[in-house]
């Protein structure tokens, strides 16, 4: 707790935004060095039959012949302008490819987020209110088991049951080819992606509700004859929301990471799949652009969550 209790909010926001800069800097450094882990990145890109002169030509063309710090500064100054170089394969600017794929990943992540919240809140609340019943045990058991499931396998199991056997949903894709409604295509991958969120949130909401329910103001609310539902919505939920919001921030990173695998399982043409294809093809510009953009998204959403946090809980506003 530095400074007085009345440090203005704008100061906190400014400091929090400034904190992003060194981290962003660090991420660019990692992303820059990463493709040089195995020595000369050019050597790995060109076909085997290239002569030394041809390799040198490529090296000069991409600027890999310059001293490494010069390369980094040029990488950085181009990255700031959204220029990550071109894909080695289709010669398109890497950023354009990423930009085109972002909406698909956003759809998936958003749907997963909504599903996670919609499923986890009732589960967590019911489980807390009916503590130590069979229902509670089932919900808690489900939440624990869910943590142990590899998400690609869960996806495949859902495909097996709901797409292959029951035929309720399409196996993969977005609907451009199958002609089935988009939402039907979205459901299985979104649900798979939301599993981590559901299990974490359910456990968290359950314990948050259990904690809040013992507080004096809840007893008071009950004592003054407030109906159970009103008590829960007005008092319990509002206060249980704080730890939940924190975890949601952390979960954004999870959703981004998970989307790489799940987009591959469901052939969903988003950023994750694009990055994975680029990794397979050693298309470094696209990998670098994707990693930077993903990290930036995570940092910004963490920032938003932190600010949201201060709105929800005024006590921590200036710390």
């Amino acid at each position: 707790m530095r400074g007085g209790a009345l440090r203005p909010m704008s100061g906190y926001i400014a400091r929090r935004v400034l904190q992003i800069i060194p981290v962003l800097f660090g991420v660019t450094l990692i992303v820059f060095l990463m493709i040089r882990l195995k020595g000369d990145p050019v050597q790995q890109l060109v076909p085997d039959w290239y002569s030394e002169e041809q390799i040198q030509e490529v090296r000069v063309a991409y600027g890999f012949d310059r001293p490494i710090h010069v390369q980094y500064v040029s990488f950085l100054s181009r990255a700031v302008r959204g220029d990550f170089g071109r894909s080695f394969h289709n010669r398109q600017p890497a950023w354009d490819m990423i930009k085109k794929a972002i909406p698909r990943t956003a759809q998936l992540a958003l749907a997963a987020f909504v599903l996670g919240v919609v499923i986890a809140f009732p589960l967590g609340i019911i489980s807390a209110l009916r503590r130590n019943t069979i229902l509670d045990l089932a919900v808690t058991g489900f939440a624990v088991w869910g943590r142990s499931l590899p998400n690609f396998w869960l996806g495949i199991m859902l495909i097996l049951v709901f797409a292959v056997t029951l035929r309720w949903f399409p196996v993969s894709g977005t609907g451009a080819i199958s002609g089935q409604p988009f939402l039907k295509h979205l459901f299985l991958p979104a649900f798979t992606l939301s599993m981590g969120l559901i299990t974490t949130l359910t456990r968290l909401i359950r314990s948050a509700v259990l904690e809040v329910i013992r507080e004096d103001y809840v007893t008071t609310a009950r004592a003054k004859g407030l109906r159970e539902r009103v008590t829960i919505v007005r008092h319990v939920l509002r206060n249980a929301l704080i730890p939940v919001v924190t975890v949601m921030g952390l979960q954004i990173a999870w959703l981004m990471g998970g989307s790489v695998i799940i987009e591959q399982v469901f052939a969903w043409p988003g950023m994750g799949r694009l990055m994975l294809q680029a990794i397979y093809a050693r298309d470094n510009s696209v990998v670098q652009a994707g990693l930077l953009v993903t990290s930036l998204i995570i940092m910004v959403s963490n920032l938003v969550v932190d600010l949201l946090y201060t709105v929800l809980d005024p006590r921590i506003r200036y710390s």
């Binding site: 990692i30 590899p150 690609f152």
Partner: protein, 300 residues
Amino acid sequence: MLDKATGSAPNTPEFRTNVVKLVRRWRSSPVGIVGSLMVLLVVMVALLTPLLAPHDPAKHNRKQRFLPPIWMEGGDRAHPLGTDQLGRDVLSRILYGSRISVMIGVSAAVIGGTLGAVIGLIAGLYGGLVDTLISRAVDTFLSIPFIILVLAVVGILGPSLLTLIVVLGVTGWASYARVIRGETLSVKEREYVSAAQSLGASNARLAFRHVLPNTFASLIVLATLDVASTILAETSLSYLGLGVQPPTVTWGLMIADGREYLSSSWWLAVFPGFAISFTVLGVIFLGDFLRDILDPKLGE
């Protein structure tokens, strides 16, 4: 402090009573018992695979391709969980698959834990610029999605057992460093430590004599839970073809193969997943139990 059971130095009476307490707590905790038995089972299977597996996991058998599990029509008693597209025994392959997951999970957690603990200790002990630099590096690593970074690095270096262990281990250091740094700072505040410091104890002595033993409990808990997430990451990498390469058997690769035959031979993709889930669940139970008794404040 009771909750710091393993925090005391070994071979002291205090340590021994703490171990007794630990065992007593274990015996009264269903999660602890179930978790450790599950982990024990998987480790035993991994160690004794050649004795347990009914068949050679790599042996092709053209005549016995796609045999269903024993309880289905056409099942064969010799292959309880059926056979795959090359006629290889699914049960034997699952048993062999445990070796890679256990080996990578444990070694990566040890590497990440050691590295993170050392870096966290340095940050906490020296403070100042060193601490600032390390803390920013931790922030940096934690804002890159772990799995994407691992995928990218393995893609560049080329997948092999050693690469996977090193990459999964080294990229996992940040969360350890963050916790151990915090623990170091709080231990440093304690009177006897600041007393030792003012008596001229070196940083190295402080680290090994006072700080490290006190952070040991958190380290163990973190590492256990880290084994679970590393195994999940390893299976994902294998599934995507960026894990340990065939002919070595991995659960992830079995699922990737099985996906091709999902509509006709579901058992190929289903059973390895249960093996992963069982292993990870055991480790999570064990980790949760350890956290509850050793370090409740670590929380989620």
